[in-house]
């Protein structure tokens, strides 16, 4: 009798229905908290937001995705233009999020110029929600911006993405020790910039990049290993999500109202990508879009060859993340464009000229494109405007 009574006591369970439900919810919240702690990558954006929310007024802001993060060096920009700039570009940032980030940054700063590095990939890939960082909502301080972000972004997301900002993927699992370590560091908890190199190390970016401050990720080594999963892809205007155009319009409107000079640019891609993809179609689409929105647009792929000579070895990977040396040179050219009275004179007229000037692809060590078929081009710019070689 006593043994069975003891057993019964051990198997305690809530008796009322609300109690049972509450226990279930609590258990799940605990598991979610633990999963988020271990699997959610530490956020660089959160730390960067804390920097731009500080007392320094940044008058030039760079926004965009990983290409922007590795392509614009604020030091070079400031040296050439006499500005105080911050590179807020972050990897895997949907267009929508860039708009809200821009608003959050402008809430604390009075920028004169915003440079938007456009990566067509994020305009054409549906459901970019894998890495989207809800820090804009949680670490932002502009209540109106937070409310709009919640209403327009988070509500539309699948519920799993909103309530659990993590996922069980090979990369996240491998990163668990580093993630946990960084999250326990006081520098990370206090959003100090010193935590960013730690985060980069935890996310295995430390081998190829060095954090140079003010959001700039400086590429240090060419890494053939990163090209294993790289495939040339073709841009198609049809694939561009309508919401991206809507949010781009909002960006342009926002800058117009605030009297901010919005400058869009398309970073120079590795020659291999230009030779194997229809980057001209992407460039043409963004030129049209920017013209429609009355926004300055510069396609760095069309720069005269002597202004930005480069090979595929000037990049960390074929995707187009620049090595720091090339990023510095591109930033210098970008600064020249920004202060030039005749920036058009720095560009060639046609894609044929771009391709003619590029070094022929000789292959890259550790990477063999032969067995892969490229996707068929679904859309090219009409022959009247430009031609594909």
């Amino acid at each position: 009798m006593r043994i069975s009574e003891k057993k019964k006591k051990k198997r305690w369970a809530p008796e009322s229905r609300p109690g049972k439900t509450a226990c279930f919810v609590l258990v799940n919240l605990a598991v979610m908290f633990l999963s988020a702690f271990l699997l959610k990558q530490p956020s660089i954006l959160k730390t960067e937001l804390a920097q731009v929310q500080g007392p320094v007024n940044f008058d030039t802001i760079v926004v965009g995705d990983s290409h922007g993060e590795t392509a614009v060096n604020p030091d070079i920009l400031d040296g050439k233009l006499g500005t105080v700039s911050y590179n807020c570009s972050r990897r895997i940032m949907p267009v929508k999020d860039i708009y809200y980030l821009m608003r959050e940054v402008c809430y604390h700063n009075k920028p004169k110029t915003i440079l938007y590095e456009i990566d067509p990939f994020y305009w054409t890939t549906p459901g970019i929600s894998l890495g989207n960082d809800t820090s804009i909502f949680f670490a932002g301080s502009d209540m109106k911006n937070k409310t709009d972000y919640f209403m327009n972004e988070m509500l539309e997301q699948p519920f799993a993405n909103v309530i659990a900002d993590y996922r069980f993927a090979p990369r996240n699992v491998v990163q668990i020790p580093g993630t946990a370590y960084v999250k326990l560091q006081p520098a990370y908890r206090h959003h100090e910039e010193a935590s960013i190199p730690m985060i980069m190390k935890a996310l295995y970016m430390g081998e190829n990049y060095e954090y140079k401050g003010r959001g700039f990720r400086y590429g240090i080594t060419y890494s053939p290993g990163l090209n294993r999963s790289f495939r040339p892809s073709q841009f198609s205007e049809k694939k561009v999500a309508k919401s991206n155009k809507v949010y781009f319009h909002k960006m342009a409107e926002f800058c117009r109202k605030k009297g901010i000079r919005l400058v869009c640019f398309y970073s120079a891609l590795p020659p291999y990508r230009l030779q194997h993809e229809n980057s001209n179609a992407a460039g043409h689409f963004f030129a049209k879009l920017c013209k429609k929105e009355n926004v300055e647009y510069y396609n760095m792929n069309y720069l005269k060859p002597d202004l930005l000579p480069r090979t595929d070895y000037d990049y960390v990977d074929l995707d187009g993340h620049m090595l720091g040396e090339l990023a510095d040179r591109q930033t210098a050219v970008l600064a020249d464009i920004l202060k030039s009275d005749d920036p058009e004179s720095m560009f060639v007229d046609s894609y044929d000229e771009v391709l003619k000037a590029l070094p022929k692809f000789q292959g890259l060590p550790g990477w063999d494109p032969e067995p892969w078929e490229t996707e068929s081009s679904t859309e090219n710019v009409s022959a009247e405007t430009e031609s594909e070689s």
């Binding site: 369970a13 809530p14 890939t125 699948p158 799993a160 993405n161 309530i163 090979p170 068929s376």
Partner: protein, 500 residues
């Protein structure tokens, strides 16, 4: 509003809170208001469409009931034609115009886009429900409802609008307007939430994950084993996506104390193709049987055809030829119901022709089995039939994978070029495959276990309700957390059948 979105979850929670706070005799009105909000959130123009359909069905129902046979028949035919016209104009015309106007001028294209924009949400489902209502009254299977708002709720009930099941008014009337109310909240939630979780498990853990591989396989030109894997994966993807979605819908409805019919009955345990389609999308199959197949059988031209055939062959064979022909027509209609693309028609013909062939060959099969001493009831023979059906169905998915019938046929033939197999297209990264394939395998085994239990007649609820409280917590925590851990995939979120 996607039923997997965060906003829908908030909407559902708020709706349930209000639903159980108000007196039970106001609950159906609450459901109507919730359905209107749901439709309005998608696009306010949906309300116009749904009220038009409800009004047509309502007026036709009352008129048919009060009118003599001839007038009733005319009214029923007119109402059905009108409803089909709405479907054709809203669903098929924009698709067809998009196809033919693709090379025309921009103004026309812009108008086509406008037409596409006003394509009402859930139209394919609620129009069939409206047709069933009108015809049931005409055939005196059901009575017309004098309350317009009752019918408006039947047509617009929001869980059904997302992807079915296509229900009959006779089924739902009793559920919506229960005199004794809709039971207690906790009991309904206990029945509904596990079903929602199970549905999301199928959708998020299996369908969305396997969908990453399927999309790669369906795009471009795959050969040999890559096609085989793509088709196998596609079958699992579609089953988990659609049946998972239906489980979520049924679970949501259960939370409101309203039981919807099952739309799936373990289709992959079918012994022949006909049985498969009686177990897959049951509500559409039942609709086609009752409102297309049987009326066709009684249609004069088919009766005449049967008479004509009887002169040339036995009465039994003539009946079979007509039945075979009707099967082809019904499956063609089912195919077209999904869309205007040639792949849908191809899919319908593929299934219709195989079923028609099996109807015609029934006697010969029996003779062959006798001469080969095959025991119809033996396990081996039953398993052979199971595998055969699985293969026929799996090959048929080729039409779903591609954007046209010709592309699908080309993909089918590429399946035999084994020497050209390139699996790196489906599995470009070894680590990704090595990580996710075992997880998918475990999830599929759980699904198989549950389906086997269902096949044995053990209900989903009975499987977990008898377990101790903490075991139940463990089961549902694992399922819920699996959805959160594996539910984030590129391009995932939408349900395939929400597009039809």
């Amino acid at each position: 509003m996607n039923i997997a979105s965060f906003i829908f979850m908030l909407f559902l929670m708020a709706g349930l809170l209000i639903y159980y706070m108000i007196p039970s005799h106001f609950q159906w009105e609450c459901l109507l208001v919730l359905s209107m909000i749901f439709l309005w959130a998608a696009d306010w123009r949906n309300l116009l469409s749904i009220f038009s359909v409800a009004l047509i069905s309502y007026a036709a129902g009352l008129y048919i009931e009060k009118s003599p046979e001839k007038k009733a028949k005319r009214a029923a035919v007119a109402a059905v034609i009108l409803l089909i016209l709405i479907l054709a104009v809203s669903k098929y015309l924009p698709e067809a115009m998009g196809w033919s106007l693709s090379r025309m001028n921009k103004v026309l294209q812009a108008r086509w886009r406008l037409l596409k924009l006003i394509q009402p949400f859930g139209l394919s489902y609620y129009l069939l429900m409206a047709i069933s209502y009108v015809l049931d009254i005409y055939w005196k299977r059901d009575q017309a409802d004098p309350n317009f708002f009752h019918l408006a709720l039947f047509i617009s009930y929001f869980p059904i609008l997302t992807q079915g099941p296509i229900s009959r008014y006779s089924q739902l009337r009793g559920e919506f307007f229960k005199k004794e109310g809709h039971g207690d909240m906790w009991g309904n939630l206990k029945a509904g939430i596990p079903l929602i979780l199970w549905g999301f498990f199928k959708k998020m853990v299996i369908a969305d994950r396997i969908g990453v591989f399927t999309r790669r396989g369906c795009s471009g030109h795959q050969y040999g084993l890559a096609v085989v894997i793509t088709l196998l994966f596609y079958g699992i993807d579609l089953y988990c996506d659609f049946s998972g979605g239906i489980d979520v819908v049924r679970g949501i409805s259960e939370c409101f104390g309203i039981s919807l019919i099952r739309n799936f009955r373990q289709p992959y345990f079918s012994r022949d193709l006909g049985e498969f389609w009686r177990r897959w999308h049951i509500s559409l199959g039942a609709f086609m049987k009752d409102y297309v197949f049987f009326p066709l059988a009684l249609w004069k031209p088919f009766k005449k055809l049967k008479k004509l055939l009887k002169k040339r062959m036995s009465s039994r064979m003539a009946g079979k030829v007509v039945a075979a022909l009707m099967n082809v027509i019904v499956f063609l209609i089912v195919g077209i119901w999904h869309g205007t693309g040639s792949q849908y028609a191809g899919w319908g013909l593929y299934n219709g022709i195989i079923i028609a062939f099996s109807v015609l060959m029934e006697e010969s099969y029996k003779k062959w089995k006798t001469s080969l001493h095959i025991d119809d009831q033996s396990k081996g023979w039953q398993n052979f039939r199971l595998v055969r059906t699985f293969l026929i169905v799996t090959i048929g998915w080729v039409f779903d994978c591609k954007n046209s019938a010709s592309e699908a046929i080309a993909m089918f033939f590429r399946m035999f070029l084994m020497h050209k197999t390139d699996l790196s297209v489906i599995f470009p990264e070894l680590t990704e495959a090595a990580f996710y394939l075992p997880i998918l395998l475990i999830a599929c085994l759980i699904l198989l276990y549950v389906d086997i239990q269902h096949e044995r007649g053990i209900s989903f609820r009975a499987q977990y309700e008898g377990k101790p409280y903490w075991t139940q917590v463990l089961i549902w925590t694992l399922l819920f957390q699996a959805c959160l851990l594996f539910g984030r995939t590129v391009g995932a979120g939408g349900f395939m059948y929400a597009n039809f």
